[in-house]
Symmetry: C2
Subunit: 520 residues, 2 copies
């Protein structure tokens, strides 16, 4: 999402007018995080739930100043940013509920063989990895920032966070950091459960730091892959959870196009223009049927895009990449520009016009390595016209995996929809029916991640309750008396009388609810 170039181009270092508390050199930050790790773990689920609630409350209390500062740095607009602070606080509270509920620990206890022969209990659960690094994104200074989803899930898991300051909004980063650290102290946790480092070199040093145990990243394919490679090349490799680029397809089937062109134009415009098209869930490829039905959708969509507000993009690198990227695509053979205005050279804060391009499905199929199938960050999309289902399928098959895809279908499209769903789900982490690709719902069933390059690890999510799992690893205790174990693992094992776990668990393969013996 952010340009790696931006990182290099902008001068790192703390801004003059905000606190530098919590901003450290890499070695110092890593050492402090390692020292905070056992304390954070020892807070237990209840203590960490209180910590997250305190952080959520503190962000909400500071929302006016946070949103105003972020607006100065990102131009996303105060109302949008206030809503993002609310979302960010809600994310922290969601992980509080995840902790209170306790299933995430995956507690399993085996006491006998499949044939019923007893043995000293084996008890498995998940424990925190240790200090982790979090690289936030340019486009969501709160929700994917210092207090974003990766931080919320890591702290919930019991892992202190060393955040990398984003060069595109350093003052917002510093303010959020100060807010989180103040809340931590107030909740009885060390302030160093969240620290920060600044600058390009600090970022690369951080992922190589021996104390670090995992990395969460949201950003560009180039920057993300470089950090992924560093993590894999460590003497002891650590997991790198990167959300990189994604060209999300939205597919309109013929029946839907015929029945509701105006509605589709609205949903597709939302999918392209939300936050100036600067979201990882932007629909970058819009598949419309050839012929009159598709033409009607396209005409309504072009009008909407032409009439849309012109956004100020997040930073100069992103603006330059948008101008160059739309021009390069428009110049390709077989590609036409549908919208009236082209982005001029200019410089930020000059706004840019949204751009809609179009081509045929055969263009994608015949040149699968084309830049047309790469992400172009900003308010632009490529409309791909297809002749029939075969033509559509052939084009979709050439695409790299994505975070999300959308299928717009009516009753008359049922057979085609049924045939296409497995193909769409094969690459994407989320498949949306008759709705915009943007507008991720954050809850227990959320999936935000996909095949490479959408994610470097398609087995996890960066958003939603399941994200806590990326910061945990399993440990089994074999025959250890219950008195030596935490509450969550205590089972009555032949006479110690300590009852059942305080979390949902699995006993000899059978899932059981938690014991209500005591509050967790």
């Amino acid at each position: 999402m952010s340009g790696a170039a931006a990182d290099a181009a902008m001068s790192p270092g703390p801004p003059d007018d905000v606190s530098t508390d919590g901003l450290y050199e890499v070695t110092e930050a890593a050492t402090r995080a390692a020292r905070a790790a056992p304390v954070l773990a020892a807070l237990g689920r209840a203590g960490r739930s209180r910590l997250l609630a305190a952080m959520a409350d503190a962000l909400w209390a500071d929302r006016e100043r946070l949103a105003a500062t972020a607006d100065e740095e990102t131009a996303l607009g105060v109302p949008v940013l206030l809503a993002e602070v609310a979302r960010t606080a809600d994310q922290l509270r969601l992980f509080g509920r995840v902790l209170d509920e306790g299933s995430y620990l995956g507690v399993a206890v085996d006491t006998r063989t499949a044939d019923g022969v007893g043995f000293p209990p084996v008890r498995r659960w998940l424990v925190p990895l240790g200090p982790v690094a979090v690289f936030g994104a340019s486009n969501f200074p709160f929700a994917y920032g210092v207090a974003g989803g990766d931080t919320a899930s890591a702290l919930a898991a019991g892992c202190p966070v060393v955040a990398k300051e984003h060069p595109s909004h350093p003052r917002t980063c510093a303010l959020v950091l100060a807010t989180l650290r103040r809340a931590a102290t107030g909740a009885g946790a060390p302030a160093d459960v969240v620290t920060m480092v600044s600058g390009f070199q600090a970022g690369t040093d951080l992922v190589r730091s021996p104390q670090l145990t995992a990395v969460g990243f949201t950003g560009s394919v180039g920057g993300g892959r470089a950090l992924f490679d560093l993590c894999a090349a460590r003497p002891s490799p650590i997991p790198f959870y990167g959300e990189l680029g994604s060209v999300n397809p939205a597919v309109v089937l013929r029946g839907a196009a015929r029945d509701r062109p105006a509605d589709l134009a609205r949903v597709l415009a939302d999918s392209v223009l939300t936050r100036g098209g600067q979201v990882c869930t932007k629909a970058g490829l819009l598949f419309l049927p050839e012929g009159g039905d598709g033409d009607a959708v396209l005409a309504a969509l072009s009008d909407r895009v032409d009439a849309a507000a012109r956004p100020v993009l997040l930073n100069s690198s992103i603006r330059a990449a948008y101008v160059a990227g739309t021009a390069a695509r428009a110049a390709l053979p077989g590609v036409r520009t549908l919208t009236r205005h082209r982005p001029g050279a200019g410089s930020r804060p000059d706004p840019v016009p949204p751009v809609l391009l179009t081509t045929d499905a055969t263009t994608l199929r015949d040149d699968p390595g084309s830049i047309l199938t790469e992400e172009c960050f900003g308010p632009c999309a490529l409309v791909v016209r297809y002749r029939d289902t075969e033509d559509l399928t052939a084009a979709l098959t050439t695409l790299a995996p994505s975070l999300v895809c959308a299928l717009h279908a009516d009753d008359s499209d049922a057979d085609t929809a049924r045939a296409l769903l497995p193909l769409l789900a094969a690459g994407a982490g989320r498949v949306v029916w008759n709705d915009a690709t943007c507008g991720l719902r954050i809850g227990w069933a959320t999936q935000h991640g996909g095949g490479y390059p959408a994610s470097t690890d398609s087995g996890t999510t960066s958003v939603g309750a399941a994200a806590i799992g990326r910061w945990l690893r399993p440990v089994a205790y074999q025959g250890i008396p219950a008195g030596f174990l935490p509450d969550e693992l205590r089972t009555g094992d032949g006479g110690d009388g300590t009852g059942a776990p305080t979390v949902p668990y699995r006993l000899d393969g059978v899932p059981l609810p938690r014991s209500e013996r005591k509050n967790p």
Copy 2:
């Protein structure tokens, strides 16, 4: 576990006297596996459960020939190998139960916000990754072989397996492959749900093959790291689940040493000598207190080790490494040899004597990079004498993470045990109380994996029910009508009347048992 050198030294290729059905060139094997993938997925949980049962039955029916062939190649002994066939069949059946039960899919359905505002359901579950590669170990030709844990969990997940033939027991591999493929066909699945490739180059080509989506590996640090690096360097990286080397510590506390020296000597000898010490769970470092209590344990242990049978090791490379490895360690300053016999040069099938060495905790602490803290495969161990808890803790802190560690403690050791458990659990995937490190119990609570180099990915297990998770990735369906979804995801979403999922699931955050509406 196996020497990478062995791979290079031995001539690959199918043995003359067994079937080559299912043995393919890499491209052919990958293509066939990719073709089998949607068929295997479409079998559903019930169909794959039947497939695994058929494979278990077929292995058991062939057990005499399988064990005899493996004994010719490994010298592990027919009784040991018959028991291993039984374990291997049991593993396949365990995953059948995992499929029948269905929790592994992690089904979650969100229908409303935290404030109770409804929205089109978001349904999340896990889907198979696609074709995977499995590299088996030298030391468990069945349980970690072509039909081993990785194969069982991958097939259960819905992922076809391309196995790499082990050069140390190619005839056993071919026999197992033929048995599995026959069973698959009999169970209505394509034979190509399991295929095999042969030779060192084929192994490296396999992990680079575009169709492959993940790799399971059990073997040496050198070979495993090389394949890990290849997976990370792919244009689209794939997960590599490697179980590499592990020097598993067994710690005897003072009270236990005083109270039951003979019992400890027996358990420690089992931890060192099981299967000729050729297991990944061998205790390689035995921590005993200084003084008379520890001396008594050591005397009884030395006697047992000296009196133990001399095993024939698995192959010539492992034998050569054992002879050289024990000699190199014995020659280090501060190290004494406790057992009477030293392994001579000789060559396989000459048996080798077990070896017990000893040193002080300060030796480890003062030279943390020493080969004394590296795995030496075979029937040998290093006894480390410690003065007090501080001395013990300092030595333990220098060790790399391990698969397993054991703590031997009596009531009088409770305070020390309580202080040591977090340290032991910090690196190891399994902590054993007053028992041998070998003898992994396979069930729902099993954890077999640890920090690097024990595992390349400490977030998963290679054995036990949870192993199925390594071959799956999440997908969320947003607003898709239940009629388009598999049974496991169907919920009554406002009038379609299709009831509740047939697996345990989570509805708006609340865990619920599966609907008994129909059998899965």
